[in-house]
């Protein structure tokens, strides 16, 4: 204990030095954007903490699974069998239509759309900072993930990767306030921009003139114009339009299809035009990863 007679600089000096260091970090990261390599290195360093945090949940899920009875499993099997058959039949038809579409596009002289590849990933942590909507997934640069990669769930677009570590990556959800996505209305191809509002169930459309033909219930698809998200995936549905003339633009609220509040399994998508390639793990990785299947975007 040597707290009465301190050596070294005074407490206040040390405080200002520490504050200076922290402010320098803030400045370097926010104004100069020079911290991306450091960030990906550090997110690799902290990934054990994230895995540790989900460990109890995984153990309880494992126990839960090992306690399911035979009859329950059989019931599940029956329940899942019929939709699978239907989906396989739909996929056959889809393959035929896609090859026909490619041929027709060739005839028209336009580009054939490149094949995109997917990988199933699990959410390992939810950033509990209430000001940003992010989740952490268990795939990283060792799986070929890259910054700016689109992420989907079974209903629609979820978001994009903003930082990538070795085994984890961080997804910025479309509902985050700093995120915007270019969409088009399915009915009439009007281009719109949807920005997150900080509410998981609501996005806002920007710069919609009062006369534009958008109705409640319209389906919004990704337009592909932002060169991040591939074209044609469902994103949101219009739920509310306020054409109050005292505002410069109409206030349009849309609800995302993706269940952003209960994401569990997500799909990482490698669109056809990017150079990065998915790196699939060994056979003991997720059974859902089938490298031989080449979906067409």
């Amino acid at each position: 204990m040597k707290s009465l007679f301190e050596r070294g600089p005074s407490l206040r000096t040390r405080f200002f030095i520490a504050l200076g260091c922290a402010s320098l970090l803030l400045f370097l990261d926010h104004r100069l954007n020079t911290m991306q390599p450091v960030r990906s290195f550090l997110s690799t360093v902290v990934s054990p903490i994230q895995y540790l945090a989900v460990l109890p949940q995984q153990i309880s899920a494992r126990i839960d699974y090992s306690l399911t009875t035979r009859s329950e499993v059989r019931k599940d099997n029956e329940r899942l069998g019929n939709p699978l058959l239907e989906l396989e039949m739909a996929a056959q038809r889809l393959n035929f239509i896609e090859s026909e579409n490619d041929r027709l596009r060739q005839l028209l002289g336009s580009d054939v759309r490149g094949a995109s590849r997917r990988m199933v990933t699990e959410v390992v942590a939810v950033a509990s900072d209430p000001f940003s909507h992010q989740v952490v997934i268990n795939k990283g640069s060792s799986n070929g993930a890259y910054v700016g990669q689109p992420v989907l769930d079974n209903r629609g677009i979820v978001g994009q990767l903003v930082s990538v570590g070795l085994n984890t990556a961080r997804v910025l959800l479309i509902s985050d306030q700093s995120h915007a996505i270019s969409l088009r209305v399915q009915r009439n191809d009007i281009r719109v921009l949807a920005q997150g509002t900080g509410d998981l169930q609501k996005l806002a459309l920007l710069y919609i003139s009062h006369s534009s033909d958008i109705e409640v219930g319209d389906v919004l698809l990704s337009s592909g114009l932002d060169e991040v998200f591939p074209e044609g995936y469902p994103v949101a549905e219009v739920i509310e339009i306020d054409r109050n003339e005292q505002f410069q633009y109409a206030q349009v609220a849309v609800r995302p299809y993706a269940q952003l509040d209960r994401v569990r399994s997500l799909l990482l998508l490698w669109p056809g035009h990017v150079d990065e390639q998915p790196v699939f793990g060994r056979a003991n990785d997720d059974a859902a990863q089938r490298p031989e299947v080449n979906y067409v975007d």
């Binding site: 040597k2 707290s3 405080f15 504050l19 550090l42 903490i49 945090a53 209430p130 940003s132 700093s178």
Partner: protein, 160 residues
């Protein structure tokens, strides 16, 4: 160089606080999650200020920034700002009653969260919502238990 006594238990306590900070919770409880990292830092800064100082605060702040996915420096600045009054008055704080200490901790957590909010607001246009301040209440409720638990922990593993 020699390793001071109780280094590993000290590091383990940091790890526990970081894990608790990102532990997935049901969304009902999520907004009430106590500010574990602030509570832990306040205790160590008060109990062993000659050992846990601004360098530790900077390191933990950086890890918090990474885990929270915020910009670098936001949580670091807030934690440094909270650490100063604790380090300045640690001798006085040790002699406070538990009630006074709890109120003080509540104010510190409130200050920390307001600083984080202000920085997020200026840098990323964050919008304030009241549930963001709920953890101040739960942190105050958790503080006496954290305090007693950590004191026992410190005595058991001779962290000095």
């Amino acid at each position: 160089m020699w390793i001071k006594s109780g280094l590993v238990p000290l590091l383990l306590s940091y790890l526990a606080a970081l894990v608790l900070m990102v532990l997935p919770l049901p969304s009902v409880l999520e907004v009430w999650r106590p500010d574990w990292i602030s509570l832990l830092l306040i205790y160590w800064l008060m109990a062993i200020p000659h050992r846990v100082g601004f360098v530790t605060v900077l390191m933990l702040g950086l890890l918090t920034d990474i885990l929270m996915g915020s910009g670098f420096g936001i949580y670091t600045i807030a934690l440094v700002a909270v650490a100063y009054p604790v380090l300045r008055h640690f001798q006085r704080l040790r002699n406070q009653s538990m009630l006074q200490l709890t109120v003080f901790v509540g104010l510190l957590v409130l200050a920390k969260r307001m600083i984080v909010y202000q920085l997020e607001h200026v840098l990323n246009d964050a919008v304030f919502n009241l549930p963001y301040l709920y953890p101040v209440i739960t942190s105050m409720l958790a503080w006496p238990w954290v305090y007693l638990l950590l004191r026992k922990y410190r005595q058991t593993y001779a962290i000095r």
